[in-house]
Symmetry: C2
Subunit: 87 residues, 2 copies
């Protein structure tokens, strides 16, 4: 039971890890110090995890990474939009 809680907490914290960064970008409208490469690298990595999950037919891996990818694509979209606006 305790291990299930630890596993689920770990999954939730990392799945929604970029949500505070999204909110901060949305609030401040500034991305000067944010690494776009970190967002891009995570997006590609998480997309590959999802593809790997499809190969394994593991719905936990597919689902968790689909959620991560969604928040990352929002973060990346915001980053690109705000970065263009700046220049």
């Amino acid at each position: 039971m305790i291990w299930t809680i630890i596993g689920i907490s770990a999954a939730f914290l990392t799945m929604f890890g970029f949500v505070p960064q999204c909110l901060k970008m949305w609030r401040t409208k500034s991305v000067k110090d944010v690494s776009g490469l970190t967002l891009f690298q995570f997006s590609v990595g998480v997309a590959l995890w999802m593809i790997y999950g499809i190969h394994l037919k593991d719905y936990i891996i597919i689902g968790a990474n689909a959620i991560s990818l969604t928040s990352l694509l929002i973060a990346l979209g915001l980053y690109i939009k705000l970065n263009q606006k700046k220049s």
Copy 2:
């Protein structure tokens, strides 16, 4: 073979996902737009993944998350240091 490459690529991209953010903070010495909460939330999440891996005795989960945690603690340390300097 192709699936092994996809799995390993996914692991490497996400394990080292915060390295570009660390390098950017180090270079610019500015963290104004970086979400400290994202770094903290990922650190706790990844630490819990590592603990979960220890429970499962799965050395892949332990190792991958230990590497992630190391880069995250460096990122978090840099963030705290540069954020204090600013104020």
